[in-house]
Symmetry: D4
Subunit: 209 residues, 8 copies
């Protein structure tokens, strides 16, 4: 396993039976598996075969088995609230499945800056911070300015009009005035969780030497 993890199945655009087949194949070879963008139908079929599988309808993650490795230190996932929640949970769930410990800060938006600043310490203690934001995506810049740790920004597609299905927070995060913020695709909570785990894996493997 080149990356240290079995491949993750992208459920969207696949039929339930296609997913079941790939999932079974992964379970056989690796003893664990994860599907992103899974549907309830996929979850039913897979639980029939793998009763230990868990489906979370918010993040749409369907997982089975646990990471053999556990990374010390916290990965924070931060967002402003209700509408960004599914993507934030996709990021959090992915990171957890890969062995991270995740702390969620889900009620912080830049228009209520004091609520965000109440978490300043928690943010600064984290090893990696994932910022999930729709609207104008400003949260990434404010958080990026508060910490000395890697910040991974995930724009979300929830919004309307000049939001252009996430294009606006995407461009905004790429143009962030906070140095060192890196960005993943719109709604790609999975990618952010994965990148955070890659960093945590590096930290652990270096420390272990």
């Amino acid at each position: 396993e080149r990356t240290g993890y079995p491949e993750v199945v992208f459920g969207q655009g696949k039929t339930a039976s296609q997913v079941v087949e790939i999932f079974s194949h992964l379970m056989e070879n690796h003893g664990r598996a994860m599907v992103t963008r899974a549907t309830a139908e996929m979850s039913v079929l897979i639980k029939e075969r793998f009763p230990d599988a868990v489906y979370d309808p918010v993040s749409r993650l369907l997982t089975c088995g646990e990471s053999p490795r556990k990374y010390p230190g916290i990965v924070v996932v931060a967002c402003a609230g209700t509408s960004d929640l599914p993507i934030a949970e996709e990021a959090a769930g992915t990171a957890v499945w890969m062995g991270c410990q995740v702390e969620r800060i889900y009620d912080v938006g830049v228009a209520g800056i004091d609520r965000l600043l109440a978490y300043r310490e928690k943010l600064q203690e984290a090893r990696v911070i994932i910022v999930v934001a729709g609207m104008e995506g400003a949260l990434a810049s404010v958080v990026g300015g508060l910490v000395r740790r890697p910040v991974i920004a995930v724009p979300t597609s929830i919004g309307y009009g000049a939001h252009f299905s996430g294009l606006t927070p995407l461009l905004s995060m790429l143009s962030s005035c906070a140095a060192g913020v890196t960005v993943v695709n719109i709604d790609n909570g999975f990618g952010a969780g994965y990148a955070a785990a890659m960093i945590q894996q590096l930290v652990k493997e270096v420390a272990a030497k």
Copy 2:
């Protein structure tokens, strides 16, 4: 004078002699005039005829005469620094020429949130706040969340790559999560200053009744 002000000349794309002619015409009819996006060459020609004219190379405003009205209360113009300065000054200069008192807060960016919050009171005492921002334009949302007053956002064209000459902060300000922020065109400091003065004019005329 329908709007309460003589028309303002848009200097860009006009020859210096075209501008001189329009300027002279306005001086005759109104006793005062303003050119935006004026060049040094225009300023030289106009000062020959109107020695009281003033040219500011930063804002590129060329003005002559003063507003007969003066509005009590403060209009704040806020921005993050060096590169947004010309547009911030265009906004400030326009508002002043129209009779406003302007206070400048020019060293605040969202990546250094504490510096911004140090001005919280000043922002809350203002009657109107103009926020000028390039990069990801996040300043408008943070300021909008701090105050109970009209906030006018001006995106600027300074940036590169995914900034697309100001498109990113424009879209970002339009998608602001702070309620009631209104937006003007990229680099349109003039429009923001003008809109602020329209509000101040309204306040004064109502109070005067």
Copy 3:
């Protein structure tokens, strides 16, 4: 209450039960609440608990309680007709809920300029004018040229082809040849009503001093 108003709930993308919960929370703390983009389902659930709640299916506003403040003077909401009506009503309903008196001018389009000009006086007597327009968004410029008061423009998403779901009137309003017009997001009637109320709140509080 920093802004003078309880936070407004954005109903879109939330489940009915999420909205009921937030609504109840707001009623408890502020005695009044408003949801924008509310669905009929939300309205049924909320009226069960709060029989005084009112749902307007055109504007999709769901409100309960009244503004303790009432602002003298008129806010005009103008649009060209049938298709822009939901957004115009969102703007009007928001402004009313916040304490404004609203006058609607709903049958004016620039292709029938005489009908618009018949309202010239009404427009000039208003304190703030909200212009709601789809198609090419030209109404904002014509109205902006008629008055000496703040004009807030709202592009709407109704149209087809080169209209690009409101992008065209948005860009057009931002490029308006009438000075001082400010713009909110496509279909953001709420934002325009809110901004108008912020201006009226300023006027009242200054006059009260």
Copy 4:
């Protein structure tokens, strides 16, 4: 001559000597010729050979010879002022060279609607109206709503920010709420003048039967 006219040379992107050669060829075959987007350099070279050639630096039209046909009735070219002038003149000059009589209305913008309405009668007497407009391009809709004649709209590239070099008035004119307005490419004054002449040619040839 299929269209009734010799082909017109598009000067932009050609070398002066390329243009001279094509021009000479046309003069030989048709006794007259026209270059659009001509440069001063081209004009000098061509006048050496064809002393009757005329170069207009505003429209950048370089013409020689006159239309053998003259069309009765007026083609109006309308625009808001200084910055749209070169394109308006390109339209006017093209129409004239093709045999039209042109009347110019060059000081009308929608933000000063009364000035435009002062020309209502002139506009209604015209056979074809060409509307040249930058900014938000609203003039086309207002004029289109005033007349019962073909209206050809020409967006111009002068503007900044959300104007996107003429994209905004282009989209706006295509989305015009006035029925029957047709549109040509950004800055294509030539195309508008040509289309107007095609209509006038049709009218004359039908009347002549």
Copy 5:
């Protein structure tokens, strides 16, 4: 009646009962009416009240009454086939309802140039030619090059991928290498038919003098 015609109702985005009301109002005042983008439901309701009303499900035009004027000479509507048919019929139906005589050439595409050229004479005898085209919109240029008459191009939204719902033929028609082609919005068959009738009205009224 400024334009010589009663206003045409844009059916899209209106409820059936809204349309019935406007239709009835127009019938009362003008004795005839037309709805574009009408639905079958609208047609049923309107035929109940106005048994003479006619609904064409292809063009989605719902009409009642006839033009008191009839224009001699032919308006040709040309397109490449099946998928552009609804828009071609909207153009044709509009022109007919306004008093034009229309000839349809519906099986010509530029990839089969000989089929198009078989109609060369018919195209050259027409007074106005409306070209309806999706895909790459090339038909407008080829036809424009064949005739000495006004050509009105209508891009359609049928296509996929890089066609971008009609953006591609729209831009292509605006960039046409054939002089004097004018363009209307994507899928705006109505606008093209209307513009053709405006030209025919002009021709007739001039000839009548």
Copy 6:
């Protein structure tokens, strides 16, 4: 040599001395070399060292040495005229340098369809046809419809307004109604010539077996 050819140097964005170095390196290893987008300065420096090198200022190709292979059969390069010439010549020059025989048809545009049809036979006898077109790019569809051979379309960046520097013919060629037309990047004459040579190389190598 995997592809059968030495790598071609892309001259744009390289300094003259960088190009000289790479060129010399290629000459040493392959006995021949080609630079695209070469400048006059590069040509001077290279001719000093390699007196047999040839620079063509129109195509901006700088070549030295000849293809050891020569492909029978004709590659046609077609375009409408003056402004597409540099790209057409880049395509032609590249194909020739790679061993093709090229025939140029440089005066055909779709607005003058008869001129194009005069070459029908020549087009049909070609093995591969490269169509270079700016404006609306319609030539690719018309030619594609005339032949039973591979057609490679090259959009060019020459145009203005809605042409968007070649985006319009690019999208138009991709949406071509003629089956089997393939497309290369805007202004990529090199790529088209290269692809044509790949086809000719295949034909020859198969025939040789």
Copy 7:
């Protein structure tokens, strides 16, 4: 038959009965026919009349009859997996129907480069390679760099966020760093298969001489 093949029916946007009629017409004249983007409904109706017709629900191709010509040598169709399969099959099925022999390589993605390289020889022996790819479209460049044969790239619309329904792999393939890759429209498997067959037809006809 100019191209050597009967016209292919584009099923999308046509009614089943329209398709049946055209199909029957083609069968009568050519003894064989093909519909792309066919629906199950079309297949049922057509099989009633033509029991030999074959419908493939993955590629959505509906075919009847076989190519009288058969081309020696292999056309490879390569893609990364599940989601690009329908388009890959459209390409493969089209090529087969036109007489090509196709080999499918359907489990190669650039993120697992070794799996791709395992097919290096197969790719190099092919006469034409069709690369079908969504995501970032990188496969075209890697394959293009491995072979000395024509490579035709097909971007697909499967993806999300910054993928913009295939725009990203389209632009990416057009900007490929591998020389000579040509591109067809997003999801245009048909066009790629057709172009491959045109090349194979050329090879055969030349070899036959």
Copy 8:
């Protein structure tokens, strides 16, 4: 120092004297400073005052002083060659200035996959990999698929046509099929170097505990 580093000066759009002033201020407070996008003029002025300052004209970095911390382990910066070099050097120089050890792999492009694979081991031993790529940006996906470490992708603006000044590799990297690749703005070598250093700082500080 919140982030562990003094703020870095963005030289672009600032006057040389503005930069000198900020630089001096940083030197006073931190004993070291860095300017990105510095000009030769800035370098001359700064070296006058700070003779130890170093200016690299390729990366345009102007630095003075060294990082007190040094991070063990390698950061690899990979790119395809000449045109991406300035941005690759900006990334490398930034990382070095912040205390990283950098190894450069500058001759790898995906069209020559074997050259890239020759570095497989070096890539897999790195702690963080920065991939700089213009054209279609495919390098990020291929490298991302080879390693189990954080990969930061930097699209560059060098290219033409459908490359749209870096938009294409930006979108392509965001849509990468390799999990966990994160992306920074077009040409933002600085941001990538900074993010890599943030990761290395984390690793060191954790290991130090």
